[in-house]
């Protein structure tokens, strides 16, 4: 059940490709202009990021084109890789081994299977309630009480961020919005586009006019100008692509605003965790960006809020 019959969806995906073409041209111009200059490293990094964006966009677009299964499979893989990065920097002990095995190979696939079945009731409580218990029980049974609270809490947090929160993006397909049947893929694309664009726009605003830092102890790169400029421009873009959503222009703008703010907060929290563990990036999977978690940190916190707002206001 491919989603490519939807003209609005094709326009959205086409828009992403258009943006990337523009970005690649600008990146090329920057490199040509700055040759050997002092900012070369930054420009190289920007170009590496743009190349990585192409790959990410193509993978995402392909999964959306395949349909519901495509995005469920893609996000299962994303969760798996994110959890892997999270657990790698987490202070686990040998007694956690079995509980972690469950998290990777049983819990993660099951969470996404619930989305595939469309079983919202269990999906919403599976990880926060039952898996939280399972993690505590399995760890207790292993018998090692050293830092028990910290270890179980870390695993539970990892599952929440990397699996539960993220899974809300493909879970948008479960929503039954009157007059918007069979079109939910666009809702997910809207969320992902707004969140990721907001990250990019915050970066651009911050680098060009940003001075005063918001939270120097968490993230040296986040400035007031970046945050406000990025949030407002991402909100404007969200409002401008309202035609792809079940919302009107104003509601789409408000949704985009909330999603952007949540994304910003998510980015801060994920940096705080990195600082706590003494690492700069979660991994090195995506050239120029760091790990998967560095790329989806804002999506983690935006997806559940976007899902529940949509469900509350637009699902009867």
């Amino acid at each position: 059940m491919s989603s490519l019959h939807d003209v609005a969806l094709i326009r959205l995906l086409g828009g992403i490709v258009g943006l990337l073409v523009v970005a690649s041209i600008v990146g090329g111009l920057m490199r040509w202009q700055i040759r050997g200059g002092p900012n070369r490293e930054m420009v190289d990094n920007i170009n590496a990021r743009i190349r990585a964006w192409w790959i990410m966009a193509l993978v995402f677009a392909t999964s959306v084109a395949i349909g519901a299964v495509g995005s469920i499979v893609l996000f299962t893989i994303i969760s798996f890789l994110a959890l892997r990065e999270f657990v790698t920097i987490a202070p686990t002990r040998p007694a956690d081994h079995r509980a972690l095995f469950w998290c990777f190979f049983i819990v993660t696939p099951l969470e996404y299977l619930l989305i595939w079945f469309g079983w919202y009731g269990l999906f919403a409580i599976f990880i926060p309630v039952y898996v939280s218990m399972l993690v505590a029980i399995r760890t207790a049974v292993a018998g090692d009480t050293e830092q028990f609270l910290q270890r179980t809490a870390t695993t539970q947090w990892g599952l929440l961020i990397c699996v539960y929160f993220v899974s809300y993006a493909p879970a948008l397909q479960m929503l039954r919005i009157p007059g918007y049947e069979q079109q939910n893929a666009k809702l997910m694309v809207f969320l992902v586009v707004v969140v990721q664009l907001s990250d990019v726009l915050q970066y651009i605003w911050g680098k060009s006019v940003g001075k005063r830092r918001i939270a120097p102890s968490l993230s040296p790169n986040k400035t007031w100008a970046g945050c406000i400029g990025g949030t407002l421009s991402a909100t404007a873009i969200g409002a401008a692509i309202w035609w792809a959503t079940p919302f009107g222009p104003v509601a789409a703008g408000l949704m985009a605003f909330v999603v952007t703010v949540m994304g910003f907060v998510g980015g801060l929290i994920m940096s705080a965790i990195k600082r706590d563990r003494g690492v700069k990036d979660y991994g090195s999977l995506i050239e120029g960006h760091g790990g998967i978690l560095d790329r989806i940190d804002s999506l983690c916190f935006a997806a559940p809020v976007f899902f529940h707002l949509t469900r509350f206001f637009f699902v009867p």
Binding site: R84, V87, T88, T92, P94, H97, F105, G283
Partner: protein, 205 residues
Amino acid sequence: MIAASLAAATRLVTGASVHWLCDRSSETPRIYFANHSSHLDFVLVWSSLPPPARRRARPVAGSDYWQQTAMRRYFADRVFHAVLIQRSSNRADASAAQASVARMAEELDHGQSLIVFPEGTRRLDGEVGAFKSGLFHLSQLRPDVELIPVYLQNLNRILPKGEILPVPMLGRVVFGRSFERHRDEPKPAFLSRARHALVELGVAA
């Protein structure tokens, strides 16, 4: 075939990033010595080598463990072409130990590289334990063969001793610079320096 697919699976499970501080495309036989905490250790070192070097690299393993069951024997002999030696726990086995070192030297003479784990057994805590003396004697016997320290990170968390199911955390393999030998260095000094070279790699990583 089985070896190749196991190597691919290990790379996938460990998501290991490989770092080279020495020449990775060297054609001469080498002795790779690594810290030991998991069954995946050898497969990971082996799969991290460039294919031509991989074909000429053999692990050195304890015959007491690897000959215990038919399956272990199969993996040791047929899949990985291991050089099985007797692990000596007391001094009475001196002749056996000598024979083991001689066997390893013979493999080097035939153009094979060796992958050895001088701690002698898998550690549970991820630390690098004291080295057994085999590495020293081998080094004495073949002083011209390069000694390469290989640090393996997180493998004790991915597949610890006693577990059969892996947890796919991210691992790391660091091939260090060729270990420098000093003339007439006594055994304890050599072993502790070699161990230290490995620990250093882990700290730098």
